[in-house]
Symmetry: C2
Subunit: 357 residues, 2 copies
């Protein structure tokens, strides 16, 4: 497969904190239910995991938002729970109640039985999707690969699905921290191998979503979430060397820990909307790029308001290099595709003036 | 009604940042579904609002946790949505889906029609419950009255109930901030009058729950949540003068704003478990007492672990005056009453040694 030169390297430049002509923009869940063409493909696939498992359809939905909007990156369409599924937990999705596992993991004995999935043998459908998307992109924009964080995956594996109170995983954490550490160890290795596999298959940026880091107290966040994020970053950098793609960490609801996260060696940190980018940047200094952080619900407002709010976020970051525009959380099903377009257009238009200063 | 002297003033002393022999402790939702006796009374009452509206039964469930545990305060049993209900929105509770309103408020015209409920005329059942509980307590411990914050009440009123995405209220906020301000104005006056009514009826501490402050970006938090919290505190202090009970503000998920909240004039701030009390205290200085902040899920762990974690929280605050022990969020239905007892006992036992230093 010939490797085509990248035509739009804004994202990679911003991740390296190099100057750009416009602030690069992509949106979490940019391929998703708010797009009618996504809903059509999803229906064709059957259930959600069937869509993830079919490389042609996964590629199709990955590219859909790029056909509509001048986004600066594609992100692999997949689910964060592919790893536990490959470990044999039996992933399913129930309408209205989210993901669930047929076989949750709650005891030390169950945890000891878990192995590290091989990216090509056990998660080949993801690797094939990455290869196909990369090829179909033809160098138009870079492709972001991703994984859930060990702590976030552990919450679903122990709870058996989505949770309101995290009682099983927190019970395990407080009563048997050694078993939780063992679970996080095997997940940490699995996530690292999975991301290396995605890199080998063509992913040009790697992102780790720590969706549930924010439900931990500070001591347990450091021990059970941050420590593993750091190990993933360090291992990727060590094993991939100069070929390592930039790594982005996003721990939602955990801006208290921005400084610690900046010290992991990650290239960029995702920031949710509950802290100003000016304050976030002051706290992390120039060690990392920042990705974010428009309140996603701004997209429920009218296009002129969206433009104002985009401008506010861009100005809060300012003209320094190292900003990737994004939402502070994912796009939601009820959002209007035209409003999403207004957001993307505003980023490019308003940021050009900032970078021309 | 004779006013009996208060036999246990630990809570009031801690709120004034005076020395205590043991750290006072009460627990958010200490009267609730985790207690079998609560479930029995609730069944007797019929639905949830019938329980709130019956002063004898509201008094009964308020006192239930005090019969089990040596808690240092009672908190009025009621719901935060009594004010919008009194405004005519028609509050209901559906099993498994939480509160809902028959008549949500979404337009400027609907907002203009809202009036300020009179505490005695429109919310007399709450005032009667306060009077009865105060009388039945007989000075054993102080009684805490409470209200939801204007922003938090607005979220339910505009969404029409619980929300996952806050799209209607955020849409209103971004597209028509003047109408949202008008709604918050009438809620601010209503909350202030409601709390003054509770004070007149016998509440000795007033608490404002800003449950959803944490979903706002910093600029909108200051404008649409914090500004109204401050106005409530200032108005209470001005109108009640020396007779003003201590006021506690709790904005969940908003520890970024602790310094600003300490400047509202509140006597104490609630703190959730996602920040250490040592860091919180350093940030607010000695201007306010702090209430919190054990991760509620610690109660899913075994009693020895609960004791350790209680000790950690107590030690993070240290021997200085001004700590009220609490959870970082409310008790949950699946919690074991014996574990709750272990928590309360550990606070009293371990804090005695800290305060004897």
């Amino acid at each position: 497969m010939p490797v085509l030169p990248l035509q739009n390297d804004r994202l990679l430049r911003a991740l390296r904190r190099q100057p750009v002509d416009r602030t690069p923009v992509w949106l979490m869940r940019q391929a998703g239910r708010y797009l009618p063409e996504y809903r059509a493909t999803r229906q064709k696939a059957g259930d959600f995991m069937a869509l993830c498992r079919n490389r042609e359809l996964a590629c199709e939905v990955t590219l859909q938002p790029l056909a509509r909007y001048p986004l600066d990156a594609a992100i692999l369409f997949s689910d964060i729970l592919t790893i536990p599924d490959a470990m044999g937990l039996g992933l399913g999705f129930a309408e209205g109640r989210g993901p669930f596992f047929d076989h949750p993991v709650r005891t030390a004995a169950e945890i000891r039985k878990l192995g590290v999935p091989d990216p090509e043998d056990d998660l080949g459908y993801v690797m094939e999707a990455v290869r196909l998307i990369r090829s179909e992109l033809g160098g138009k924009v870079p492709l972001i690969g991703f994984s859930g964080s060990p702590w976030t995956l552990a919450t679903y594996m122990v709870e058996g699905g989505s949770s309101g109170d995290f009682r099983h995983v927190k019970g395990l954490m407080f009563d048997d921290p050694e078993s939780l550490s063992r679970l996080l160890d095997v997940l940490c290795t699995s996530v690292t191998e999975y991301l290396k596999g995605q890199c080998a298959a063509g992913a040009q940026v790697l992102m780790v979503f720590d969706t549930w880091g924010g439900v931990l107290d500070p001591i347990n966040f450091k021990r059970f979430s941050l420590a593993y994020l750091e190990r993933i970053v360090q291992t990727l950098k060590r094993d991939l060397g100069d070929a390592s793609p930039p790594v982005v960490l996003f721990s939602k609801g955990a801006h208290l820990h921005l400084e610690s996260m900046a010290r992991t060696g990650a290239d960029a940190l995702g920031v949710d909307w509950t802290i100003g980018l000016d304050e976030a940047r002051e706290r992390v200094g120039n060690h990392v790029a920042l990705q974010g952080n428009l309140d996603p619900t701004v997209l429920y407002a009218s296009p002129p308001v969206i433009r104002d709010q985009v401008g506010r976020v861009l100005n809060e970051f300012g003209a320094n290099p190292g900003h990737i525009f994004n939402l502070g959380h994912g796009l939601q099903p009820h959002m209007d595709p035209e409003h999403v377009g207004a957001c993307v257009a505003a980023v490019h238009e308003l940021s050009a003036a900032i970078h021309a200063r």
